[in-house]
């Protein structure tokens, strides 16, 4: 039997195991774990303890960011800071939706652009913006779609776009010339999304909104709300301005510092342990997914299934590669997350470079499409995080439904950037 046939059988065993366990109403996380074990057994690797545990740690850093950022936001919420901010924004901007939408776009783009993680956008500004949008008469599924799409674009936006950075490193290309090719589509597509999904002529019912919104403590003020954010921002900026004299503390510790300041400044007494426990409980499904995805990817790599998928995609006819980018990139992101950059990004950029396309613009176009996969199963990490942060009670599929139009526009723009990358090369300023 050829190696292709045997690897296809392993892949089939993994897929069938996943389908059966899901049919038996086993959770997504455990179904992925079962698929990984079945793949390892089918591949003759037995139960490879080392690989299972190693894979489980793949996304440890992201998990820590999720936990600490959510803890920070939950402390802010419990202290009354979130209610205070929303009441303030609504009072100030309820008459001018255009200004408000532009402001919201920047508030959603900045955290992800600075950190490279859409999850940070969702956790830091997403939940607050969701409430504001809610009182503007936008439904929760639409709100979630706006926040998800803008969070994805914020992760792709400069200065830190991990897909572009990881792929560039993989092809020995300096991470220069990406600023405008990433900024222009991310900014325009974000504005387009918020206006498509959020625009209505219906005025904000300020009186009703203020009545329904919880009252913040009278002692709450802008300083108490913004000082923790300022601490976070200063820590991020200090690392950028003085990278060689300021210690590397990492995003989780930055969020913990912000959380500590928020706790200290809270006008009401907070039960830190209770909030911490609830935070971890709230995030447990996501943590489980990330852990099991790591295991699944490790076993796919061990057995050759990952290679089979990669080689199948990159050896398709060029026209098919270009026309299916909109599908292949999000699906690879859904399975591998940032791991999609070295697995597919590197061979695709090399392929595009070989046929004379501009690798920087092509990679920027791909980087804009990739984040859409964060709403798709099996991981759907950012999509599910948004679903939770927005406190959406409707089924998850409603979020996906509202993502369709902006998602399609993003796919078209990204693909066109790849196809016309040579003509857009002036954007690199190189």
């Amino acid at each position: 039997m050829s190696i292709f046939a045997s690897t296809q059988i392993i892949l089939a065993v993994m897929v069938v195991t996943y389908i059966i366990t899901k049919a038996l109403k086993v959770s997504t996380e455990l179904s992925m774990f079962a698929a990984a074990i079945a793949g390892a057994l089918a591949g003759g690797a037995g139960i490879p303890a080392r690989h299972i545990v190693e894979g489980a740690f793949t996304y440890l850093d992201i998990i820590l960011i999720f936990i600490t950022a959510t803890l920070f936001m939950n402390i802010l919420k419990e202290s009354g800071g979130v209610a205070y901010v929303i009441r303030g924004i609504l009072r100030k901007f309820h008459r001018n939706k255009v200004v408000l939408f532009v402001l919201i776009t920047f508030l959603l783009l900045i955290p992800g652009a600075l950190t490279g993680a859409g999850s940070v956008t969702v956790l830091i500004t997403g939940s607050m913006i969701a409430v504001v949008l809610g009182y503007m008469g936008i439904s929760k599924p639409k709100t979630a779609a706006i926040i998800f799409i803008l969070a994805g674009l914020s992760a792709a936006a400069p200065p830190v776009s991990l897909w572009a950075m990881i792929t560039a490193a993989g092809v020995n290309m300096p991470y220069v010339g990406f600023f405008l090719p990433l900024l222009i589509p991310c900014l325009l597509l974000s504005l387009l999304t918020i206006f498509i999904l959020g625009w209505s002529k219906k005025p904000v019912n300020l009186k009703k909104a203020l009545e329904e919104l919880p009252e913040a403590s009278p002692k709450m003020n802008w300083l108490r709300v913004f000082l923790p954010f300022l601490v976070f921002l200063l820590l991020v900026l200090a690392g950028r301005i003085w990278p060689h004299s300021f210690p590397v503390i990492g995003l989780p510790l930055m969020f913990m510092a912000a959380a500590s300041v928020s706790l200290l400044l809270s006008p009401v007494r907070l039960n830190f342990l209770k909030i911490s426990r609830e935070t971890v409980h709230q995030l447990l499904p996501l943590i489980g997914t990330l852990t099991c995805v790591g295991i699944l990817v490790q076993i796919m790599t061990l057995t050759g299934v990952r290679g089979l998928i990669a080689i199948t995609i990159v050896t398709l006819p060029l026209i098919v590669v270009l026309l299916t980018l909109f599908l292949v990139l999000p699906v690879s992101e859904a399975v591998l997350m940032w791991g999609a950059a070295p697995v597919l990004g590197v061979p695709l950029v090399l392929l595009f470079n070989t046929i004379g396309l501009n690798p920087i613009i092509a990679l920027a176009g791909m980087s804009v499409i990739w984040p859409l996969g964060d709403a798709l199963p099996p991981t759907a990490i950012i999509g599910r995080l948004t679903h939770t942060a927005v406190e959406m009670r409707e089924p998850y599929s409603r979020l996906l439904k509202y993502c369709l139009i902006p998602g399609a526009i993003i796919m078209i723009v990204g693909t066109l950037m790849v196809v016309f990358s040579k003509k857009l090369a002036f954007l690199t300023l190189l």
Binding site: A49, R50, V160, V176, H244
Partner: protein, 389 residues
Amino acid sequence: MSVKWLFIRKGISAISGLILLVFAGVSFYKSRHLKEPVVLSPGVSQVKKLSEYFTGIKGTINDSNVYILEGEKPGGTILLIGGTHPEEPAARLTTWIFTENAVVEQGKLIVINSANRSASTVTRLGGAYPPDFTIPTSWGGQKFRMGDRWSNPLDQWPDPEVYIHYPSRQELAYVDIRNLNRTFPGRPNGTLTEKTCYALTQLIRKEKVDIVIDLHEAELQYPVISTIVAHQNGLDLAALASMIISGTEGFNIGVEYSPPALHGLSHREIGDHTDAISLLLEAPEPFLDATRGRTDRALLLEGKDEFVVKAGRHGLLFEKMDENGWPIDVRIGRHCSTILQIIELWSEEKPDKTVKVREVPRYTDVIEKGTGYFLRNPAKADPKKIYYE
């Protein structure tokens, strides 16, 4: 679900998790603490520690051994760096061949087998690397650690959101702050990886090294492959070596100019920040290709993979790939011959800086006899002559 059933289910899950952790923990511990013996060649005159050149890394995992081979006559000084990326095993094994066999008649040869020892104690998350591999020998075999491209997070963590290179301030992927070949020239108050680069730079300055050769392997989908990457100060030497090797040694090797805008790499920064000529050698390693099939020891050692062959048929590779693959003996042989040829050409060109090395096998010798033939049996060696990596 009844409380009893829930309790049983949680109990089974906890015990299963614990069993996995114990088995995995033993494997991680063993590979991190695997001792790799180096039986010194009669040509090794001194073994120093890297911290002797920069005390800032004393006591750290990267305080690596520095093997010094000196000839009776004065001459030039060559530094071989292995283990910059320990996921590229042919690079490390080439340095073993030198430290266990080379005899220097003139000048000085300095060899480092594990430049980033920390990275040799961890395998890539999601990469499914085997923890170790064995090179067969007539006396059984010698086991080596398989490593990663980046320093072990146990030794350097956390990473920043973006890595800003010193001193260029170029922004690089966050994880590259643990990549020894992105942190040159290093800095004394930096991270472990940056400090290691600083120690290497100090060694180059203090030992007045003339040529630095940094050994690597690359995936076949990477455009910089089967080549000598040269700083502008070593371009002529590299071009001449490439020409002669391609004509006489039985394999082809190209030359690449070190891009001035790509910072942190040894071929750029060592050339810019020291007086040494800086060269980097790349050999093909299909094990690293993103489209590789089953990830195991066989692929690592034999370099055969049908998926990568298919990628080659579609024009996606920058090096030929057929059913013969790229066995580790071929990759090590290429490195040995290229190093020897560079040293010989240098010596011809600069007679006052001559370095004469013998007893090191060339490409055809390594392929004919196998790498294991050139590894010495530590069980039969004088214990005073054994060092561990």
